[in-house]
Structures are given as C-alpha cells and as structure tokens.
Symmetry: C2
Subunit: 303 residues, 2 copies
C-alpha cells in the first residue's frame, strides 16, 4: 500500500539525512523524541543544536490519522471524513550567515468517506533555500539539482513547481519572497497518464536530491569569516522567516489545527532573532542586493 | 462628533504617554514617523529604542477609513460598507527582565451603509501586563489600577473585562496566557442605559489610568540586577509574545488586512528573541512558577 511504502521511504530518508548532517557538523548530534498523537499516530522528531555548522535544526517525520478535524474540513471544503497524512519536514538554521537556511518537506495524504473508502490521495512537498548573503552560484546549484530531479519525470515540472515555490513562499505583507525558492508542489493526484506510482517516483527523486542540493553549499561557505554586523543581518532576516511561518505557512497551520506536537512544528523557528523598527540596508550593499532579488524572483537556470 | 473627539483624545494621550516614558527612560527619545494610507487616513508612529529602560517600544496612533476591505467584510459578516477606525496602540519591551512588557490599545470604530449613514459604532481596547519574573505585588497593583478605572462606570466591568482579557490573550497552541492580563473589551456599543458618551467616559478613564498602572512597576524594578540566564529566559518568553501576535492577535490581523503600515503594526515584536527546542524551566524555579500562573489565570484583586 502506498501509505506504508511512502512512510518507510521517509523513515529511511530521515536516517540518511540526519546521518549526513551530523557528519557535516562534526560536533552536534541529533536528539530524538518520539511522540504520540492521542487522536491517532505520532512522530519521530530529531533536533540538532549548537553545532559547529548548525545552530538549530530539525528533521522530523510524522504519521497522523483519524477523523479530519473541523478546521481542516472547512479548509478542504468537505464534510466529516477520516484522513491519513505522513511526511518528513526539515529546517536547518546554520550559525554562519554565509550559509543559507534550508527547508524541505515531502508528504502524502489520503482522505476516506464514512464507509472507510479512500476517496482522494495526493503527494505534496518541495525544498527551498533562504540565503542571508547571496552567492549566485549557490542558488544556481540548488535550482539545477532541483531541475535534474524533475526532468526525467516531466519536462514541465521544474518550471511549474519553481514558479509555485516563488508564489507560495511570498511574504505578502512585506512584498518579498522568503528566499530564493526551489520547488513546491501540492495536491499531486493520479491522472490518466500519471499514476500515484509515477508521483511516488517523482517525489522520492526530489527527496533523494536534497543532500546533493544543499550539502555542497554548506561545505563551500561554512568556514567563511563573518562580522557581528553580518550576524545581526542574519538575525533580522530570520525575523522574516518567523513572520512567514507564523502568518502564512499552511504547513504550520495544518500542524496546529490537527493537534500536532507543538515543539515539533515550531522547531522551524530560528534560535536567535531580531526585530528592529524600520530597518533597511545601505544602498548598494550586499544586503540591499539580496532584498532586490527577493522582491523580483530570478530564473536561476535555463529551461 | 464622537470620532473627532476621540481622535483628539488619543492624540493628546500619545503626547502624554511618550513624554512620561522619555522622562522615565532618561536616555532614549521617541522617533516620530507620520505615514499616509493610500485608501484613506494614516498615522503617527513613535518608536523608542536602545534606552536605559526601554529596549524597544512604540506608542502609535492611526486613523484609517474608506471602503471596508473584503477580508474585513467576511470578518464582520457584512456586505460592501465604508468604515472609520482610529486608535492608540502601544507595546513596550524593557531591557531588564525584571520589568514586565506592557501592551495597551484604545480604539473607536464606525461603519456606514452605501448611503453614508452610520449603521454601527463601538469602542474597544484594554491594557495588559507580561512579566518575565513575577512579582505578585506588581500584578496586584496593575489590576487594582484597572479596577479603579472601571468601578465608577459599572460595578461588573472589571470582573467582566478582566476575564475577557484572560480569554483573549490565550496562546491556544501553548495552553497558557501571554501574561498576567488586565482588561480587554470590544464592540462596546450604545444600549438604552449606556450611551456612546458613557462608553467614551469609561474608555478614556482606562486610557488615563495607563501611566499610573505601569510606571510605578517600572520605577521599582528598573535597577534590579539580572543575570545572562535571566535575560535568556526573557528572550525565550518574548518568543511566546511573537507567537501570540502573529498567530492569534486580531489587532495585528486587522492591520495587515486593512493595508496598514507594516512597520507600525509590527513594532510590537520584541528586539531580541530566542526559540529553543522543547525548553522548560527547572522544577521549583521562579521561571517554573511563572509558567504555572500563566496556565491558570489568577484573581489578583478582590471584587
């Protein structure tokens, strides 16, 4: 069954990712918490903190099921129903402002009618990069890896899901993107040509591309020197990350409304954050260039 | 006209409050920004930062009007309408974790039908205290001052609006209050016995009580010594403040949905904030006692 197959996949992927990140960090190790959701299901949260490279991060899996909560019924526009959802969510906040924050999520969802019949199922997910100092070659590498993962599944996927990522991670109240994007897809259901198995192949190839997309960037930037002012800038930009996650992010909302585990959901929030009134970077600075790019999403690779 | 009278009142109150706070701080002064809302109205934002006492704070007034934005139509359950709203909002984040954060807001709202006829008007507002270290006598003083401001207007007001404050500033996803409360009232409209002029008298007496409710606490605690660990605790608790404001606060939402000025709305966010995974204070500590009180709102004064 798809739900078991995909859950096994994300269990293994969690192991692979946490193993590789610990190796990259060289100091901190992941702390694991298993939790149970009283309405059905639970999760395995793995959090890293105060590392050489990673100041805070989580690589979490969860599997939740049971009656669809009322708030979610309204959201999906359905009556009483049962659901199943499982996925892997990760966010990494590096110490060094030259290393970008990264987020990824891969998930699978099923909905059932009163008789327990499956009426819908879909995949969703993606991965996206949030730099504090922008190295164009890093954004290109990340996007090229995303594109490579898409191309053998459908020639239009990269273009489509890159745009959806730019649209989704848009901080409407700031009129700027959260970061330089990547991929975002949702409600990926079977069609005549594209079965759930095809979607599974696609989503897992994206999942498998994560380490290749992110780790080379970390390796390249982790030991660059930085100043106190650059660190302040990182913490200010992290404030925008918090704003997006708490005001706009549907994943966070879904977690809060389905009575997920709060500490696992909010592991995405950065460890140290600053808000200053009306802060804006100096004209012509690297910080100002970043803002400009975030206001006008860029095509990082040719398609 | 009520709207002009109340707007004049909050203009003067802004002057009085910013004057008294500058005197208390002794170093930092308020920086003023006037802004215009293109759909109608604008505001006067006054922000203080890096003071002796106040690390960051804002005392803002605004007056906004025009067609009611669509999102607000849904919120109020009405069709197309015009509105007028004005108010004073303040949040103060002190440096010293022994000094509580305070928030207050007093506002007036009118709604008009297509012919421009006023169909509804109401007052709203309140003031509430968020300590990081709890001095019971401070909470009592704050509440007693709130109660005194209420009592000559209606014997039930304090009890009712104290409870509404506890209910409103409840971080549902954490199952704890944002702070130790105070007063919260909304949709205060005319009835047979209680005219808009009565409401005006009540709301302005609460507004006039603010400095008396807060400043003696600041005076008492501003020079207490504190450790790095106590400061960390303050920054962690400030994280809960951010969570409430961005996830639950209707005032923030109202500002964002009526195209208010983002930097004026988000001045409420603290300057330095921390999030750590699954942080919880030591058993029997002062920090643990605070959490317990926040989980079970207290009656601070007799009524």
């Amino acid at each position: 069954m798809m739900k078991e197959k995909f859950f096994k996949y994300i269990q293994n992927l969690q192991d692979a990712i946490t193993f590789a990140l610990e190796k990259m960090d060289g100091k901190a190790v992941f702390k694991e918490d298993q939790w149970i959701r009283k309405e059905g299901g639970g999760g395995r949260t793995r959090v890293i903190s105060n590392g050489n490279v990673f100041e805070k991060g989580g690589v979490n899996i969860s599997k939740v099921y049971g009656p669809l909560p009322e708030a979610m019924q309204r959201y999906f526009g359905v009556e009483e129903a049962d659901f199943f959802a499982c996925g892997l969510s990760l966010v990494l906040h590096p110490v060094n402002p030259m290393v970008p924050t990264v987020h990824a999520n891969w998930r699978y969802f099923e909905m059932y009618d009163k008789s327990g019949e499956k009426v819908k199922s879909w995949f969703g997910g993606g991965q996206d990069l949030t730099p504090y100092y922008l190295f164009d070659e890093d954004a290109k590498h990340f996007h090229q890896t995303c594109k490579n993962a898409c191309d053998s599944h459908h020639p239009e996927f990269y273009k489509k899901y890159k745009k959806q990522c730019d649209d989704y991670f848009w901080n409407t109240h700031r009129e700027e993107a959260r970061g330089v994007g990547g991929l975002f897809f949702d409600r990926c259901s079977a069609t005549q040509d594209f079965t759930m198995q095809h979607w599974y192949n696609f989503v897992t190839e994206v999942g498998d591309s994560f380490l290749e997309a992110y780790l080379p960037i970390v390796e390249k930037r982790r030991d660059l020197p930085f100043t106190k002012e650059q660190r302040d800038w990182q913490e200010i930009r992290r404030g925008r990350y918090v704003e997006f996650n708490l005001i706009h992010d549907k994943g966070t909302l879904f977690g809060l409304k389905t009575n997920g585990r709060i500490e696992s959901i909010l592991m995405s929030l950065p460890p140290h954050v600053q808000w200053h009134y009306n802060h804006s970077p100096k004209k012509g600075s690297e910080e100002a260039r970043l803002i400009k790019v975030l206001q006008h999403p860029v095509e990082w690779v040719n398609f």
